[in-house]
Amino acid sequence: MTPHFGLPEFGFLLRGLQWTVLLTLVAFVGGCTAGLAVALLRTCGHKGVEWITRIYIGIFQGTPLLLQLFVVYYGLALTGLKLDAFVAVAIGFTVNASAFLGEIWRGAIQAVPRGQTEAAMALGLHYSSRMRDIVLPQAIRISLPATIGYLVQLIKGTSLAAIVGFIELARAGQIVSNQTFQPLLVFGVVGAMYFILCWPLSWWGSRMEARLALASQR
């Protein structure tokens, strides 16, 4: 007899949700850290370094994420490095996020008016202070809507992790659906979970965007 969708199945989905959230957090925090480095290198003023960073960004933006996950999981296995599925996808998503966030923040850094940097230089402030005190606080504000938008994409995008056998929310839904033959109900619940996760973020993002637009009108 096939099991019906009940508490144990719901619990299984919740565990999938947990993994989705965990993977998102790891990839986002790691991606933010590495992405900041990417953005700073991409705008450092040294032609060679900027060019290399540009290629780095280009590679990760220009190839399918799926392929990148394969490379990390199976490619590294070929070199004898057998990674746990979670570690592998976490690395894959982190590196990918660093390229996308790096590019978002590159744009934001360059959107801070040149006069801000010039005033800071004229005051004798060094690069680290110019970035930390003047440019980045303004760039982060500018990039907030796009950064939140990327986070929402990332949450939904983690479902790709299923491809290397990692059981996150979408994969958990598929498994439960196959067991219960209640795809509509199961995927309805899964969809609701994604929605509860993403919608507040989307809302926050568009509110930020509206607020920024208003501020720039003044």
């Binding site: 006069g115 230089m121 004229a122 004798g124 005190d133």
Partner: protein, 248 residues
């Protein structure tokens, strides 16, 4: 006399790519001198003063500020920027910081003085530009004239030996020009060494020791304001003065 020289530019040549923006510029500024720099748009006035604090690099010639030769080393650039304050046409206040924070950031970070000392100095200079009561506000809450006065105070907080002004009143509504000019006149009367790019000829007459006229990247002529305005030597200067006086 030698040690009275604050800025010395010799044979300065500056290119933007293939375009030569400064041609063989020589300039000596002595302690306490007030210099007004004028000339048509694109003549290189901004470029000239931006070379003095190395916002722009030069390709030939030499610049010495307060005895320090400006080269490409971070050390030299640092030393020179400590001595040179700058005020921009578009104020360039830091919008995410209060007026007080705008004024204390550089002293704290670049001069490494304590926060309380930096704040005391900042309040002193804010008082001096008559804006002491706005210290906790953000730049966007102030008028253009007030913002420019904050920018002047911010530069003064670094206790520079010379102040550079790049058209400080050009972005202001007419009714706010006077308050900024008055602030600059006060500064001049206190003995500050100043180079001002401006087309405010009343200001030039009142405070300048020398007026310098530039065209096409060259210093064409210079003189005391009286002689400069009454009896300009070059046709190019006469034409320029005719144009701006017609405007005013």
């Amino acid at each position: 006399m030698q040690d009275n020289i604050l800025i010395e530019m010799k044979g300065v040549q500056k290119w933007y790519g293939g375009y030569q923006a400064l041609r063989d510029v020589d300039l000596i500024v002595r302690k306490g001198e007030k210099i007004v720099l004028c000339g048509p748009s694109g003549s290189g006035k901004s470029t000239l003063i931006r070379c003095i604090n190395r916002l722009e690099a030069i390709q030939q010639g030499s610049i010495v500020v307060n005895g320090h030769r400006l080269d490409d080393s971070i050390k030299a650039i640092d030393v020179v920027r400590q001595d040179v304050g700058m005020v921009f046409q578009s104020f360039n206040l830091f919008p995410h910081m209060t007026v007080l924070q705008n004024c204390t950031l550089a002293p704290i970070r670049a001069r490494r003085i304590s926060k309380s000392e930096a704040e005391a100095t900042a309040r002193k200079y804010l008082e001096r530009v008559h804006i002491g009561d706005q210290a906790e506000k953000y730049p966007a809450q102030l008028s253009g004239g007030q913002q420019q006065r904050v920018a002047i105070a911010r530069a003064l907080c670094m206790q520079p030996k010379v102040m550079l002004f790049d058209e400080p009143t050009s972005a202001l509504d007419p009714e706010m020009v006077k308050e900024v000019l008055d602030t600059m006149i006060g500064l001049a009367n206190d003995g500050m060494t100043m180079i001002c790019v401006t087309h405010e000829m009343g200001f030039a007459r009142q405070v300048a020791d020398r007026v310098i006229f530039m065209a096409e990247g060259q210093i064409i002529e210079e003189g005391a304001p009286d002689a400069f305005f009454r009896n300009p030597q070059h046709a190019r200067t006469r034409q320029f003065l005719g144009e701006i006086l017609a405007h005013h």
